[in-house]
């Protein structure tokens, strides 16, 4: 199928339209599972009809009309036992009678409201974070279950089950496919941003397995962040998140050596940082700050990433500013991981003893007990403080906790480097 140029064209058109199609159909049928099926049905109709008659002028409207026709047929065949279904069928029938121009106008969703509504539904807090991520990748990103499974190093059955559970949870909670407004928007936006960042991080810092970076997930998260920033340009935290992922993604090429080996920030070849993405990130950060969002958790993290992005050489890094930003982030978004990074920043700005003092305050935290970066940071402070034997032990402890092989190798090399 993939070799046939017409089929490839149809599939490319479908990929462009799919999310909007599902969004519109979900709003219509109030059933995301059904919406996905109907969209798929429309693709099959297109694959049958377009090779002979050519791709229509407005393929999106055509696919939507085909899907609606299937929806009506389906409802009729179900004998219309419930009154509600009969109403929907009537509504659909009326819409079906519209002229081509009217259908086009109905699909014309210049504000992207339907797509945004679908994103908010897929990221609804009634669903667990991992299921939200899988559902968003499936519905909005158009990834196949197989692709999602590969990305999350899971198996297809587990991902399929996760997506099914998520859809059921949405249906059970009666989630609307609308963009929330006002206070509800403020309450639900964090769960959308969280999912985009979770997807990005899963790609950026693979938490398990042999590969350190999985760029397709990063690209998908970047695309989602760009879509959100396009559709919600007045939300400072959306711009903060966009800034954060653009700047972090700018380092993807420099972050892994040719063998997939981890290269830490200060050792990276900065000539390989993507300056276009850095500019896009800095621009988004400026817009977030201009909207009064400088203290948002994502904007603060973007500001941190920007400090590194602005430094031409590692030794030009403004560590005092980074330490100050971490102090602020620790107040806005208190977490043991932020405290650990804060300790690292203080060690760079004010010396290894400052770092050791801060890291010792959080060493007993239960959340960090199995967290490799904690002993790794401690090892680094100890080595710089002239205590190589203790540093070696700390690096070895970190290696034992490392989540992927690359990181483990890196930490063992650092331990070996402490020998003399």
């Amino acid at each position: 199928m993939a070799a046939d140029p017409t089929h490839r064209t149809i599939e490319a058109v479908f990929r462009i339209e799919r999310a909007r199609l599902i969004a519109g159909l979900a709003r219509l049928t109030r059933d995301v599972d059904r919406a996905e099926e109907l969209a798929q049905d429309a693709l099959l109709v297109a694959l049958t009809e377009w090779p002979a008659r050519g791709v229509p002028d407005n393929p999106g409207a055509w696919l939507m009309a085909a899907a609606k026709r299937r929806a009506i047929d389906g409802i009729r065949h179900a004998q219309m036992q419930s009154r509600k279904h009969a109403e929907i069928a009537r509504e659909l029938d009326e819409e079906q009678d519209m002229s081509a121009a009217a259908v086009e106008a109905a699909l014309d969703d210049p504000l992207g409201d339907e797509l945004l509504g679908l994103i908010f539904a897929a990221c609804h807090p009634v669903i667990g974070a991992e299921a939200r991520a899988a559902l968003t990748l499936r519905l909005v990103g158009g990834l196949t279950v197989e692709e999602i499974a590969r990305a999350f190093l899971s198996n297809e059955a587990a991902i399929a089950a996760r997506i099914t559970r998520a859809k059921k949870a949405i249906a059970k909670a009666g989630v609307q496919f609308e963009v929330p407004r006002g206070a509800e928007l403020a309450a639900r936006l964090p769960s959308v941003l969280e999912i985009v960042y979770l997807i990005f991080n899963e790609g950026y810092a693979a938490t398990a397995g042999p590969s350190l970076v999985r760029p397709p997930l990063c690209a998908e998260a970047q695309r989602l962040a760009r879509i959100l920033a396009g559709l919600m340009p007045e939300q400072p935290e959306v711009l903060g998140l966009l800034a954060l992922v653009e700047i972090q993604a700018s380092r993807l090429a420099a972050r892994a050596g040719p063998d997939g080996q981890f290269v830490p920030l200060t050792e990276q070849n900065r000539a390989r940082w993507d300056q276009l993405l850095i500019r896009r990130g800095l621009n988004a950060l400026e817009r977030a700050e201009a909207l009064g969002g400088a203290d948002g958790p994502y904007a603060l993290q973007a500001a941190l990433a920007a400090c590194h992005a602005r430094a031409r050489r590692a030794e030009d890094t403004d560590w005092r500013r980074i330490a100050a930003l971490y102090d602020r982030l620790g107040q806005v978004m208190p977490s043991p991981v932020v405290e650990l990074n804060r300790a690292v920043a203080h060690s760079m700005a004010f010396g290894p003893d400052a770092g050791l003092a801060l890291v010792d305050q959080i060493a007993g935290d239960a959340a960090l007990r199995h967290y490799a970066p904690l002993p790794a940071a401690r090892g680094d402070f100890l080595l710089r403080a002239g205590r190589p034997a203790e540093a070696k032990a700390a690096f070895e402890a970190a290696a034992a906790l490392a989540g992927n092989d690359r990181e483990r190798e890196f930490l063992l090399r650092r331990a070996a480097g402490c020998a003399d």
């Binding site: 210049p110 989602l224 050596g257 890196f410 090399r413």
Partner: protein, 143 residues
């Protein structure tokens, strides 16, 4: 993948822009198209270029560098504008280009060229990459 999308120049575009209702309409249509690209997460960068009469070329031959002032003759080969897009594959890029309003008043052409990606280089310069890698590894062991 990233693609560079070139809007090729025409006799018209080489004359520069003069205000007209048609031009206004084109800006409106192009604005809508750009917004669609942004909302789909496709648009990374893009701009229009002034006519080649504003341009310069530098010709290389061994150690010599010769500066040539525009305008340049072979109009069909000139570029009048570009986008940088992030798409899944070339098929998707082609479909997006088909949706673009005609960027010129007469017949015109848009060319799509995929960028080299990280993995393309891995095959082309394995030795050099390995050398850089070794240097980094040495530094890490010391640090």
């Amino acid at each position: 993948m990233r693609v560079m999308v070139f809007v090729k120049a025409t006799e018209d575009s080489e004359q520069g822009m003069t205000a007209s209702p048609e031009l206004d309409q084109m800006f409106v249509d192009m604005g809508k198209f750009n917004e669609e690209l942004v909302n789909a997460g496709v648009l990374v960068a893009g701009d229009g270029l002034k006519p080649s009469s504003f341009g310069k070329r530098v010709a290389f031959d061994g150690p010599s560098r010769t500066v040539i002032d525009g305008p340049f003759a072979e109009t069909r080969e000139l570029v009048a504008g570009y986008w940088l897009w992030e798409v899944k594959d070339m098929d998707e890029a082609v479909e997006w280009v088909k949706r673009c309003p005609n960027p010129m008043f007469g017949p015109s052409e848009i060319e799509i060229r995929p960028l080299y990606e990280m993995e393309d280089f891995a095959d082309i310069i394995p030795d050099e990459a390995a050398a850089i890698h070794d240097g980094v590894g040495e530094k890490l062991a010391k640090g």
